[in-house]
Amino acid sequence: MAQSIKAPITGTIWKVLVKSGDTISEGETLAILESMKMEIPIEAEDNIVIVEVRAMEGALITEGDVLFVIQAA
């Protein structure tokens, strides 16, 4: 079943490090967000497959925006 990973803060997306179809291990970084010079890595909490990447580098995001659609690996 597909799930989503949401932005924990309002800010911008600095880096997106994965693409659709990638299999990611727990603890790997998917993206790095930035808010007021605080860099916030988004890490996988489980082993997952990236179904869809909605995060776009440079984009403004609001807390709660969906960054990735994922499913269990």
Binding site: I9, W14, E34, S35, M36, K37, E39, I40, G58, L60
Partner: protein, 245 residues
């Protein structure tokens, strides 16, 4: 607990952020501070190059475990105000804060700050570099000479890097504890008193847009208020610079 009792002095590291991250994972207490003589991979925001002559600046990262979690953006301002208070105690007077947390003296960078947040265990790493050596002593490369200022360029009697580090750590602990216990009011007052952008025309590079407006100060959240053609925007991220004519 006095943070100065939990200093970890290292000679050469990749980055004090890397060393502090390892200590944080090993449950080092809040306030533990890694201080290095030199870094081989020190950097600022977005991986930008940070010049630091070995032994010429305070290169440090402090482990924080804020009570409201690891995503509090106001911590950027808290750390800036704490470091500013430490510089003031060293005798540096007319510095300013450029949103969100650069510390400048007449448009030259005196200190840079970068925070790593978002940790599920609630840890924030507050990394900072404070130039202490004078520009002449530090043999600053020509390409950044116009952007560099050291504490010893501003004092009549030179001060050591370790004395600046002690002063900053004491002030940072005091400022951070005050914020944790009493809230942001004093932070915002101290920040606003030295706000480099307040009332100035600024360029905002926000996401995919570039906007010009007038900086109107900071919100209680620490976000920057900018008036753009009569409409007030609240900015949490992006690049902001004074417009130069």
């Amino acid at each position: 607990m006095n943070w100065r009792d939990h200093e970890v002095h290292l000679d050469v590291v990749t980055s004090t952020m890397d060393s502090a991250k390892i200590l944080a994972r090993a449950n080092a207490p809040e306030g533990t501070t890694v201080i290095a003589h030199a870094q081989t991979d020190g950097h600022g925001r977005r991986g930008r190059y940070w010049f630091a002559q070995p032994g010429g600046s305070v290169l440090a990262t402090t482990i924080l475990r804020p009570k409201d979690g690891a995503n509090d953006p106001l911590l950027s301002l808290v750390v800036a105000v704490g470091i500013g208070a430490g510089l003031q105690a060293c005798g540096v007077v007319d510095f300013v804060y450029k949103w969100p947390n650069d510390i400048l003296w007449r448009d030259r960078k005196l200190a840079g700050i970068l925070l790593y947040g978002g940790d599920p265990q609630g840890v924030v790493l507050a990394g900072f570099g404070v130039n202490v050596m004078s520009a002449k002593e530090a043999c600053v490369p020509t390409e950044i000479a116009a952007a560099y200022i050291g504490v010893n360029d501003l004092l009549t009697a030179p001060i050591s890097v370790s004395d600046v580090a002690f002063s900053i750590l004491d002030a940072l602990q005091s400022t951070y504890n005050d914020y944790q216990n009493k809230g942001p009011e004093k932070i915002l007052v101290a920040y606003t008193a030295r706000d480099a952008l307040l009332g100035h025309r600024v360029n905002l590079d926000v996401g995919e847009r570039c906007i010009e407006g007038v900086a109107m100060g900071v919100e209680p959240s620490g976000a920057l208020r900018v008036n753009t053609a009569g409409v007030e925007m609240v900015v949490m991220a992006g690049e902001v610079n004074k417009v130069r004519y």
